[in-house]
Symmetry: C2
């Protein structure tokens, strides 16, 4: 009796899906249809820019809530729903329910999938029980469960087509990232940097779930899939054993470098891009060396996983400046020359622009003026420290030493930005970046590794920069020059993903729960609405029935909201993870809701 | 730094609160201020009618969501928030958080109270972990916790002023009802009819929490607080041992008659009104007799608890037609005579109108034409069965007998209406009644009593009336004549409390999650909005900053939503409690959110 209402896109997919690489062509095409949203990142370039333009600076103030939906789960809701034709796919944190909602029928639930998972995975999820979203390809919806199971669901029925186990939660390996369908494969990262996991990017066959390749972030060349002669680092071949020689003994086996961030893809170059996370432990004294290739931008061939180039942003991390943040691919002119660019806002507070064809470093500037741990990134190609941050001794936790407190480091461990993805508008040529404006005191200590147990090795406290009270900014950034164009203060970190639109309106959410619309050119606030809970989800837009909708998941949590999510009430709880966010409980409480906005009927 | 913004009402309360009975005068006054809502029932008369009239049939279609708030709890959200001046008090189901929200500051959380309760109370809550709301008096907010603790919170700080233990969850006694402040006392009922609790209404001193009186529903005269000579039943004194002589031996000690519904109060008559619930067990063969005073409307003196009159609607219950539904007090003309009326929509499917001064039965008519278990209520004063329902043998589960199935009884055990309160508009003279349009098969079985264990003794299955597919109606009822004026079909039971307004708009919520506004005169739908989760809360309205707001809690659950709330997926789960509501999961999922509506700015 229940009508099933999928768009004609499915028919088209079916036609393309017979050839492996064809699925890629179709996904590219589908991702270019602004009415839909077929991947968690919006598009392969991770621009999170939509061609929809019904909502403009002139009318955004009239936005209304169109409809709402509860996910039935509390705690941190990262990511965003997908929309394919007349169906919206909504996900949630552990236990990771997936709902298919009928947009033609008041969001009636076409199907629900909820995996059975061992709740013992919860304590090994470092930073809340989050899940960053679904992906689509070949008629299937892909879910990366908390327990690392990658499951392929029939988009029409929710039935499991195949599933693959990507890791082992008993060893601290967990799943939080959105999978990404690239050509005939599904790529998925892994979390566990605070548990000494040797992390990897893994590709599974789209049709069968069979593992195609796995590339670790640290280890021998055949594990990290580098070609010593062809894989380059700032233009030079990385050479043999580029990773293992930067670790003390076998430490790379428990070395972190996790891969829980977003994945980008350039179909023309046939390269994927993603970042690897912090080296384990957080105590730098315990792991001498550059700890390659943690904290690294990776460019890999999606067909075999082999790396084309690498760039390590924070050699020998001393601050947990996990390098997983997204790589935004744009084509812009620099100095009159058209360049294929990759822009990345790292946890370490530097906004990097590179040539994505070869990894050439073009720009590296602080996107929060309070960043103090490094004076700059050395841009002198003739220098021995070319491309490396010049660490300020006062803020070196290595130099301060174990069991001693390094005070006033900016940014804090959660970075000037964490997973919350930025957006880019080709109309303005600006990046819209949700940022954390937070500093920290950091005290490393010796920690022994035990599989499945926390392997953190530092405590910290977090607070706004001296003399300030706000903990976040939403900024517009010129990636060609490395300059802030405008900046809006926010009381708390902006932990929500941004959305840019052709209408000239940029959207983001706040930890207090506001959905905000601002003018892309000036940052002027056009609209705000208080959703049921704090927003750490990514704003998305779609068109249905001729109307543009804007949707966002509420549900406070994630690292910034871990105090509320896990019931930690003191700033010092969770080795200091709660910090200044303890005040959040004055503004919001746990939730798990989708709020969908639209302009009123004329 | 945090501003504290309570209305001037608090000052007035303080002035009155020195004299005990004064608190009553003040609450009456406060309850007459339509900007506020000082009691869960809206007013003492339980009319749930508001004098606010900005929202009219002409503009209701333009309503928008103004703001939202997550309670941080899932499962069934019954009741409604209070508003006193600039502060809104929001409650939730177990673990029963209470939030004070600053309406002048974007609903910032002024304080939160969340009791520590033993989660073992959850399995002894028959019909979800619901809580029906807070009460206010003497500068204190009163919360009736799931574990039966009645706690008085300082309205300004949330600090506990006093607390009293009203029952023992280990014996199946739980708290779900809203307390009611009457004069210098706080009155509170108790739940546990499915666990053989001897239920009671208890009054506590407003200032100290000391127990003032306790009146059981069944038992010896000194326990049920009746005066054999003065307490009347249909105009005649009840006589000595009116309760115990209607039970077999000591069965009244485990006889139910619970008191988890709403309480009404007539200050002029100085009488409170409430209903007592089903006798325990649900197997009628096991408890011969009328089982007085289960299933009874009680009129009691709030000062000492002594009963003025009683009326038993369903002697010797065979269907779980629990009599707790609210008593709505109105003054209307019948036959040209001004009468002080009490109208009650019983689970048994009859809408009763009585003279509330003396309990005279004026009207008893079916408010769902499908009701079939009784042909009528005998209105012949000369008859031996005067005032009693005339049971249809075919639907008598007693006559069918133990372990045998009586088919097609209408209504089902959850009644033509359950706790979901109706509203009354003096403008139209109509009652607006959220109803269940559900029938059942019922099979009693022998059950042994063990303290703290279920003492149900029947299984059932529930379904719409033969030949129909909808399970609810929202009706307008003329209480003087006992006739349906208009009726709107709903797919599921309307388990939300109604609100009538002077603007001529009536509001209610649906189990799918819609907030609906209809024309009070015609029932025509003026507006609907899909909130995040199914609505079993009671719609309320308040005025702030010169603007009328309408608010409702979402959060599917309660009996009708127990399948979703407790994870029961088959219609036969929970001894059949899930029934036809199993289809609800196609429409909504668990939640816990407040949605606040208003007209757009001009």
């Amino acid at each position: 009796m229940r009508r099933f209402l999928l768009s004609t896109c499915f028919g088209v997919v079916a036609a393309f899906a017979t050839g492996g690489a064809g699925a890629n062509d179709e996904l590219i095409k589908m991702s270019q249809n602004p009415k839909d949203r077929v991947m968690a990142t919006g598009d392969y370039a991770n621009q999170r820019y939509s061609l929809l333009k019904q909502i403009t600076p002139a009318n955004a103030g009239k936005l209304q809530v169109a409809w709402t939906f509860s996910t039935g789960v509390l705690r941190g809701h990262e990511g965003a729903p997908l929309v394919i034709g007349d169906v919206m796919y909504v996900h949630g944190p552990f236990p990771n329910p997936v709902y298919a909602l009928d947009l033609n029928n008041d969001a009636k639930i076409l199907w629900k999938y909820e995996p059975k998972q061992d709740p013992n995975v919860i304590p090994v999820m470092c930073c809340d029980t989050v899940n960053r979203g679904l992906s689509y390809g070949d008629g299937k919806i892909f879910l990366h469960q908390a327990d690392t199971t990658l499951v392929a669901l029939d988009a029409k029925t929710g039935n499991v087509v195949w599933s693959a186990k990507n890791g082992d939660p008993s060893k601290g390996q967990t799943g939080t990232s959105a999978p990404m369908v690239i050509k005939d494969k599904v790529l998925v990262g892994i979390s566990g940097g605070e548990f000494g996991v040797q992390c990897h990017m893994t590709a599974y066959d789209l049709k069968t779930g069979k593992q195609a390749w796995r590339a670790y972030s640290a280890g021998p060349d055949d594990q990290i899939l580098v070609d010593p002669d062809k894989t380059t680092d700032l233009g030079k071949p990385v050479g043999k054993d580029s990773s293992v020689k930067t670790w003390d003994g076998d430490q790379w086996k428990i070395g972190g470098g996790c891969t829980w961030g977003w994945i980008s893809y350039d179909p023309q170059l046939n390269l994927i891009y993603y970042g690897s996370g912090n080296p384990s432990t957080w105590n730098p004294k315990q792991r001498p060396g550059d700890n390659k290739w943690s904290m690294t931008i990776w460019a890999r061939d999606p067909d075999n996983g082999v790396a084309r180039w690498v760039y390590q942003m924070t050699p020998h991390d001393e601050w947990d400046f996990d390098g997983v943040n997204e790589m935004i691919l744009t084509d812009q002119n620099i100095g009159g020359t058209a360049r294929k660019l990759l822009t990345h806002f790292d946890r370490n507070g530097f906004g990097y622009t590179l040539d994505r064809t070869n990894g050439e470093l073009l720009v590296a500037e602080k996107y929060d003026p309070k960043v103090n741990w490094a004076s700059k990134v050395d841009m002198d190609k003739s220098s021995k420290t070319y491309g490396r941050p010049l660490v300020v001794s006062q803020y070196s936790t290595e130099q301060t030493g174990e069991d001693r407190n390094t005070k006033g480091i900016c940014p804090a461990a959660l970075g000037s930005k964490d997973e919350q993805p930025a957006a880019y508008s080709p109309d303005t040529g600006l990046f819209y970046v949700p940022t954390n404006h937070v500093c920290m005191d950091y005290e490393p200590f010796k920690v022994a590794y035990t599989a499945g147990q926390p392997y953190v090795g530092a405590t910290l406290s977090m607070f706004p920069p001296a003399g300030e009270t706000h903990m976040g900014n939403f900024i517009a950034w010129d990636g060609k020059t490395g300059k802030i164009v405008w900046s809006n203060k926010e009381q708390f970190s902006v932990w929500s993903g941004a959305l840019a639109t052709a209408g000239g309106v940029v959207f983001y959410g706040t930890l207090e729960g506001y959905l905000k619309a601002v003018d892309a050119k000036t940052g002027k606030e056009l609209y705000k609405f208080k959703t049921p809970s704090g927003i750490i989800g990514d704003v998305m837009t779609y068109e249905h029935g001729g109307k543009q909708f804007v949707a966002v998941l509420s549900g406070v949590g994630g690292w910034a909201g871990i105090g509320l999510a896990a019931g930690l009430t003191n700033p010092t709880d969770g080795l200091g993870a709660v910090g200044g966010y303890a005040a959040l409980r004055q503004y919001t409480s746990l939730g798990g809701q989708l709020t969908v906005f639209a302009l009123p009927a004329q």
